[in-house]
Amino acid sequence: MQFSERRNDPQLNQSSGDGDSGTDDRLLQARVQGDRLLAAGDEAIQRALAGSNSEAFLRAGRQQGGQ
């Protein structure tokens, strides 16, 4: 999805009252999307770190001065 096509963002489309079923749906959708992102993020992190030694990794990329 393109950002310019972002729809149903609960944070951008605040509802005025409680019990608005549209708002409930949007909140639910946002939560599902958020959970998907976190699950995918967790999986990506574990894949990226698999077999890595962080100290050696950081040492290998040591920068010697940049702008």
Binding site: S4, L38, A44, A48, L49, S54, F57, Q63
Partner: protein, 520 residues
């Protein structure tokens, strides 16, 4: 409508690993440069270790032995992002070729990362250039409040490299900014970089070095678009920053960078009052919206205003609302998840960072980012017994214990690695994996055809000419051509192509032998 050119320089971190050992960095760089020279159509740069490519971009070895890619001059934010992406793919292609053909035993990776967490105190820059015609001293004051507060959507996210704890920041680069205005770029950097180097005739160039390498197209696009509009308004004499002058820009930068809630008010002057970063950005936006169809604005100004407003609405709703769209909120979400996996509560970090800071000061250790020696501090031989005892009592009251801090410090390097690998080029990068998974919402319509941009220049201005000439002359080794931003020269043939007019549409060749013979 007025045209305005912009460009982006990206410094890439490159690492090679053979098992747990670091591969020789110089060898890797030597291979990459050699492959660039031999496999990409290019003309030699005027410096010995760089070249201009057929898409009119520049690829070179920069101080600190890192590869740097400068986009060609672009006429709109879509092209600016497109050519940044083309640079990413160019680097990635070179690394894959090197691995396949020359160094199969080395795992070489390339990263869009902004600070070095290995303790070197160094940084990788991502600089922006915006063309303007101002001569006066007003530009810094119109720009600085914008540059300080735009990090709420342009921040790369990461950690303060000078903290001995694990201090999240919207903008790791901010820790390397030490002045409000400075002409230096490797030390004593300023929010506003006052270097004068137009690289063309009849225009000046605003060179911004407090920005960061980003992965989100949206963050990049709004960064370039919004900053272009601020420059245009300043040039038109609207003084867009005059009503939002910060009392202390450097203090404000630190405050904004350290505040994911984005609610902390900043001290303003003339008149003294408080405003949040979001409010300051809305001030600039309102001015841009009021003038977006004026003749001094670029044609695409209205579209920038629409997206700028959407992004500000989004960030004003808190980091969770933009965790799928902007770099720093994305990282914040991932780091929080990883903290839970590693057995500590992310919301306790601010407290633990304050504890470490107190103990570091008491032990008179420098703020150099080296890990805090917690076991020494908690041992029977502790040099700070009174403070440790006081904190111990506080922890008991709060239901916390030292073990949580131990877990944080033990996994500190892992978090630094995650930040670095977030921007790793290619399918192994964390951002790339999320993007491939379809869980992100960062793309901007119209940024496409990246493969085409790798081999072709933008359609406007001198970049189009430069790219075409590079392509045409790349095989003429006899000519000993050298290329710069504003000219292409062959001493052998006595020919010079004048590119000093950034909007030139024709090849303006000169015979240099005439001048030389006249001078002699």
């Amino acid at each position: 409508m007025a045209e305005r050119l912009l460009g982006v320089e990206t410094e890439y971190a490159i690492s090679g690993l053979q098992g747990l050992e670091a591969a020789d960095h110089r060898t890797i760089i030597h291979h990459l440069l050699d492959l660039a020279h031999t496999t990409l159509r290019n003309l030699q740069d005027e410096s010995p270790s760089g070249l201009f490519l057929e898409n009119a971009a520049r690829l070179y070895l920069d101080s600190g032995m890192h590869m740097e890619y400068s986009t060609p001059e672009c006429a709109n934010p879509w092209d600016a992002v497109r050519y940044v992406e083309a640079g990413n793919r160019t680097l990635l292609n070179l690394i894959q070729k090197m691995t396949d053909e020359r160094t199969p035993e080395v795992v070489t990776s390339c990263y869009r990362v902004n600070v070095d967490y290995s303790g070197s105190g160094a940084t990788w820059g991502c600089h922006e250039s915006y063309q303007h015609r101002m001569q006066g001293a007003e530009l810094p004051w119109d720009l600085i409040p914008h540059l300080v507060t735009r990090i709420i959507y342009t921040g790369a996210g990461g950690f303060d490299p000078f903290s001995s704890g694990l201090r999240f920041t919207l903008s790791p680069r901010a820790a390397h900014i030490e002045h409000t205005i400075s002409s230096d770029s490797t030390n004593d950097r300023g929010i506003y970089h006052s270097k004068v180097e137009p690289l063309c005739a009849g225009h000046n160039r605003l060179h911004i070095l407090c920005g960061e390498s980003l992965c989100s197209q949206l963050a990049m696009w709004v960064k370039f678009g919004a900053t272009c509009l601020v420059v245009a308004m300043a040039e038109a004499g609207l003084a867009p920053g005059s009503a939002v002058q910060l009392d202390s820009p450097l203090t404000a930068l630190r405050t904004v960078a350290g505040d994911p809630s984005m609610k902390r008010p900043l001290k303003m002057k003339d008149p003294p009052r408080r405003m949040t970063a979001v409010e300051i950005q809305r001030h600039y936006l309102a001015k841009a919206e009021a003038h977006c169809r004026d003749t001094f604005m670029p044609l695409w100004a209205p579209e920038v205003c629409v997206q700028w407003r959407r992004v500000l609405d989004l960030v004003a709703s808190g980091p969770k609302a933009s965790a799928d769209a902007l770099d720093w909120p994305m990282k914040l979400a991932l780091f929080s998840t990883q903290a839970a996996r590693r057995g500590f509560d992310w919301s306790h970090l601010a407290f633990w960072n304050a504890v470490i800071e107190d103990m570091r000061r008491e032990m008179r250790l420098p703020p150099d980012g080296k890990p805090f020696p917690l076991e020494l501090a908690l041992s029977p031989e502790t040099p700070i017994p009174a403070l440790v005892s006081r904190i111990g009592k506080l922890l008991k009251k709060m239901g916390l214990d030292w073990d949580e801090l131990r877990r944080i410090l033990l996994t500190r390097n892992e978090f630094f690695e995650i930040d670095t690998r977030f921007g790793q080029l290619g399918p192994g990068g964390i951002f790339s994996m999320l993007d491939a998974n379809g869980v992100l919402n960062h793309r901007v319509g119209g940024i496409d055809n990246i493969e085409h941009a790798i081999r072709n220049p933008p359609v406007k201005g001198r970049a189009r000419i430069r790219g075409a000439v590079v392509r045409r002359l790349a095989g003429d080794l006899e000519g000993k051509w050298s290329c710069g931003w504003d000219r292409i020269v062959s001493k052998r043939h006595g020919r010079l192509l004048d590119l000093s007019d950034p909007f030139t549409e024709k090849e303006d060749w000169h015979d240099t032998t005439v001048n030389e013979s006249q001078e002699s």
